[in-house]
Symmetry: C2
Amino acid sequence: MKLTTKGRYAVMAMADLASFSKERPVSLTEISLRQNISLSYLEQLFIKLKQKKLVKSMRGSQGGYTLERPASQIKLSNIFIAVDEEVRTLNCKKDSKKGCNNKLIKCNAHFLWDKLDQHINSFFEKTLLEDLINKRLK
Amino acid sequence: MKLTTKGRYAVMAMADLASFSKERPVSLTEISLRQNISLSYLEQLFIKLKQKKLVKSMRGSQGGYTLERPASQIKLSNIFIAVDEEVRTLNCKKDSKKGCNNKLIKCNAHFLWDKLDQHINSFFEKTLLEDLINKRLK
DNA sequence: GAGATCTCCTAGTAAAATACTATGAATTAA
DNA sequence: TTAATTCATAGTATTTTACTAGGAGATCTC
């Protein structure tokens, strides 16, 4: 079980924005250098973050990104969901071959994974981007 | 972020053992059929579970596995650790190229992943195999 | 003691997911 | 008009995961 870099990069980049985009938009080139993340990969992540209205963009020279809402109104769960870093302990969704919801008998541990999902998600739900940049975590 | 089948299979197999191996050892063939897990894959998992003294084996005909300790004394964390399904939100361990602990400046979200690890592990630490088979989770 | 049923052990491999690269068009400030 | 930037899509290398293959060794039952 691991968190992939996608989710980590997204959170780090958003934290970077929260810290540096107060006056002016911040370019992905900047973030790429500061956080040591491939530019092209960042671009892909930011398209998703924009679609979910977590950031807004300004094109052209001197352009870049800013937060769409203040850091106090962005949950970590918003970020993870935006980049498709879902917590999925089970692959019993649309997959017709694997998983267990297409069998007569539900897998006996099914409810355990549900609980685990809830437990993990509660962390992302309760933590705000603001908490992260202030290093104030519960 | 996802839990791989390795961890899930291990927990399901242990739950199966807890339910069926009270009188007699249970063979992996049985578990394989009941839980729909490849026999050879189960064998690999059980070698690890045995090394960590979570199960004991009886070879030969009518052999199989039983729990080494009662289900009330086995934490889910024991099982996950045994099959190497560690929770690792970061790859900053021995990897010299990636990660962040070999840089001068620690990645600013480092402490977040630590907190997350703790949060997830607390779930596995507090849940016993017994709770699972009794469907009694907090 | 032969045969069946098991665990034990190691290598190899197919498939899936991940992380990243490449390329170029569109937009805009200076 | 040029440089800097976002936007968009396709392709690929790497890594991880999940599984298969093929046997050797142990032990019960007949």
